[in-house]
Symmetry: C2
Subunit: 344 residues, 2 copies
C-alpha cells in the first residue's frame, strides 16, 4: 500500500495498519530550503509561478516521510481573483473592504476561478513529479473565513465588522458568501481536475462564531461547496479551527473528513460524532517544541483515542515557522513507525 | 433588593427575579468620558493613580444601570510588581522574557502584592462612592495567562515559548507559575480587604491549551489561588476564554462562579455542569454592533437557557472599543427589564 492509497483509504474509512500523516503548512517558512527560494522571490511570486509553487510543494515530502503533499498557495488568491487588491506586508491587507451592496456587485464571480489557472498548472507539475506514490491535496479558504478577510480588510481580533454585517444586513451578507462559495467551488473543482486527490477547506475563523451563528452564517456555504464537489470523486476535508463547540453542526458540512484542532480531544470527538466520521488531527503544534519523548507520547495518545476508526494524523493547526525540524521529523516518524496491534 | 445584594445573591446561587448584569471591560476605551481622561493621562498613569482609577471605574455605572463596578486596572500590574518591565505601546511589551531558572529567581515574590497598594486605595475610594448600593469587583490575571505574557515577552498568536517551556522544563514552569499564583493570591486578598465584594480571575489564554494540558499546566494554579481566598467571604469568578472544551476541568477550579465565553451555548454548559454551578456570560460582544431587536432577542435567548438557576449576565469577552454605546445600553436595559415568569 503506497502513501496515496493509504491517504485515500483513510478518507474513505478503511481500516489501516497505520494512519496516514501530513502537516498543515508543511510547505513554507519552517523549511530552510523554502527560505532559500524566498530570498530570491516574493511570497506572491512563488504562489503565482507554477514551477516555483510546485518546487516548494515538493520540498517537505522530499525531506520527511509524509503521505501527502499539499499545493503551496494561499487562501487569499480567491478574493484576489474576485477583484480585491491583496497585499502581504507580511500580514495580509485587503483593499476596499467590502461593506455595501455596490461592493458586492463589483466583485468578479464568473471567470474568477479560471483566472487561478496558475494553481491548476502547479498541481499538474506536482502530480507529474509525485506520480501515484503520494497523495496530492488542493485547498481553499471557507466562505466565512474569506469573507472575514474581505470585510475586515485583513486579519482581525474581534471580527466585529464581518459579524456586524451579518447581524445588520443578512441579505447582503448572504449575497457575498454565496458569491465566494461559487467561486470557491469552481476553483476546487479545477484543482481536482488538475490532479488533486482530495481538497481541504480551511475555516480558520469560524470557531469565533457561537454555535447558532455558525449554523446560520458559516455552515450553509460550506455545504453549498461540498454539494458542488460531491460527484467529482475526490474526498473533501473540512477543517475548522476551534471546532470543539461546533462538532454536531460541522458533522453536517457534507465533507467526508472533519479536521480537528488541538483544543478538543479526539476521544471526546469520537463520543460526540460516532465512529462513522473520519477525523484529521490533532497534535498541538507547540508540542513540536518539546522533547522527542513527549512528541512521541502525545502522538501515540492521539492515535490511541481513535483506534479502530479511520484517522488522518496531522497537527491541530498549521506548523509554526520557528518549529525545530527535528520536532517535525520526530512526529512524522512516530506515525510512520506505529502499527495497529492486530497488524503487528 | 439592591444591585449588590442581587449580584452576591446570584454568586451564591439564589433564585432571583432577574439576573444581575455587568460587562467585562465596561470601564475604558468604549466610553467618551474615559477617552477624555485618557487625553490628559497615560493608560498606566490612570491605573497607578487611585483617584483617576476610581473616577474611570465609576464612569460606566453612572452611565448604565449596571449592577456591579469593576476596578479599572490591568492584569499586567502583577508581573510589573514582580519586577518585570511592562510597557504599553499600546500593545503590551514585557522586558526580559522569562526563560531561565535565574530569570525566575530574579522575580520579586515577597512584597510584590504590597507594592500594588494603589489598586487597594482605588478600591477604597470607589467603595466609599458606591456605598453598598452596587457590587464592586476586583480582578487579576490567571497564572497561565500572566506566565504567557512573561515568557512570550508580550502577546502571542502561538504561545510556542510558554508551551515550549512547560513541555521542556516542567519544574521551572511550575516554579514560575507558583510564584505568580502566590503574588496573585496576596493581591486578590488585599483587594477584598480594601472593599471588593468579589474577585474575577481572567484566564484569557488558557483556552489555547488542550484539555489535558489545561488540567496539568493551568488549573492547579487557579486552584491554589482559590484555596487561599476560600475563607475570605468574597465570591471568586473564574473566567476562561475558550472554556467550552474545558468545562469539566474548569468546574474543579475552586471558584464559585464560572465565566463563559460566547463560543459555547449556556444550555450546553448547563447540561455538562449540572445546575449547581453558577455561570456568568455570555453574549458575543459583536452582537452589540447589531440592531436593537437582535441584541434583545439574543440576550433573552441566553437567559432562557439558564432559567431556574443562578446566572450573572455579561458578554462572553470584553466589550470592544468601537462598540456603539446604544448597543451597550440596549443590552443592559434588556436584562434590567426582564423578569422571571413566576415573578411577573
Amino acid at each position: 500500500m503506497n502513501s496515496k492509497q493509504r491517504f485515500l483509504g483513510a478518507c474513505r474509512g478503511a481500516a489501516l495498519d497505520r494512519p496516514p500523516v501530513w502537516i498543515m503548512r508543511q510547505a513554507g517558512r519552517t523549511l530552510p530550503e523554502y527560505n532559500a527560494v524566498r530570498q530570491r522571490h516574493s511570497f506572491m511570486d512563488i504562489v503565482r509561478t507554477p514551477e516555483l509553487a510546485a518546487l516548494v510543494t515538493l520540498q517537505p515530502v522530499q525531506r520527511f516521510p509524509l503521505d501527502a503533499a499539499i499545493i503551496f498557495s494561499d487562501i487569499l488568491v480567491v478574493p484576489a481573483a474576485m477583484g480585491v487588491d491583496v497585499q502581504f506586508v507580511p500580514h495580509p491587507v485587503l483593499g476596499t473592504a467590502v461593506k455595501s451592496s455596490a461592493d458586492v456587485d463589483a466583485l468578479r464571480v464568473g471567470g474568477a476561478a479560471e483566472s487561478l489557472g496558475y494553481v491548476a498548472e502547479a498541481l499538474r507539475i506536482v502530480r507529474a513529479e509525485l506520480g501515484d506514490e503520494k497523495a496530492l491535496l488542493g485547498f481553499a479558504g471557507a466562505p466565512f473565513t474569506i469573507a472575514s478577510y474581505m470585510v475586515e480588510g485583513g486579519g482581525s481580533k474581534t471580527y466585529s465588522k464581518v459579524k456586524g454585517l451579518m447581524y445588520r444586513e443578512p441579505a447582503l451578507y448572504d449575497r457575498l458568501l454565496t458569491a465566494i462559495s461559487d467561486v470557491t467551488a469552481d476553483y476546487l473543482a479545477a484543482q481536482i481536475a488538475a490532479g488533486a486527490d482530495a481538497v481541504q477547506i480551511f475555516d480558520s475563523w469560524a470557531g469565533e462564531l457561537g454555535p447558532a451563528d455558525f449554523a446560520q452564517f458559516a455552515l450553509p456555504y460550506v455545504q453549498r461547496i461540498a454539494g458542488r464537489l460531491a460527484g467529482l470523486g475526490a474526498p473533501v476535508i473540512y477543517y475548522v479551527n476551534g471546532v470543539g463547540n461546533l462538532l454536531e453542526h460541522a458533522k453536517a458540512s457534507g465533507a467526508g473528513v472533519l479536521g480537528i484542532d488541538w483544543r478538543v480531544e479526539l476521544g471526546e470527538v469520537r463520543r460526540r460524532l460516532g465512529s462513522a466520521t473520519v477525523v484529521q488531527g490533532n497534535l498541538d503544534p507547540a508540542v513540536l517544541f518539546g522533547p522527542k519523548e513527549l512528541i512521541r507520547a502525545k502522538t501515540y495518545e492521539i492515535i490511541s483515542q481513535t483506534t479502530g476508526v479511520s484517522h488522518i494524523l496531522n497537527l491541530g493547526h498549521g506548523v509554526q515557522p520557528d518549529t525545530p525540524l527535528e520536532g517535525i521529523e520526530t512526529f512524522v516518524q512516530a506515525v510512520v513507525d506505529w502499527r495497529r496491534p492486530e497488524h503487528e
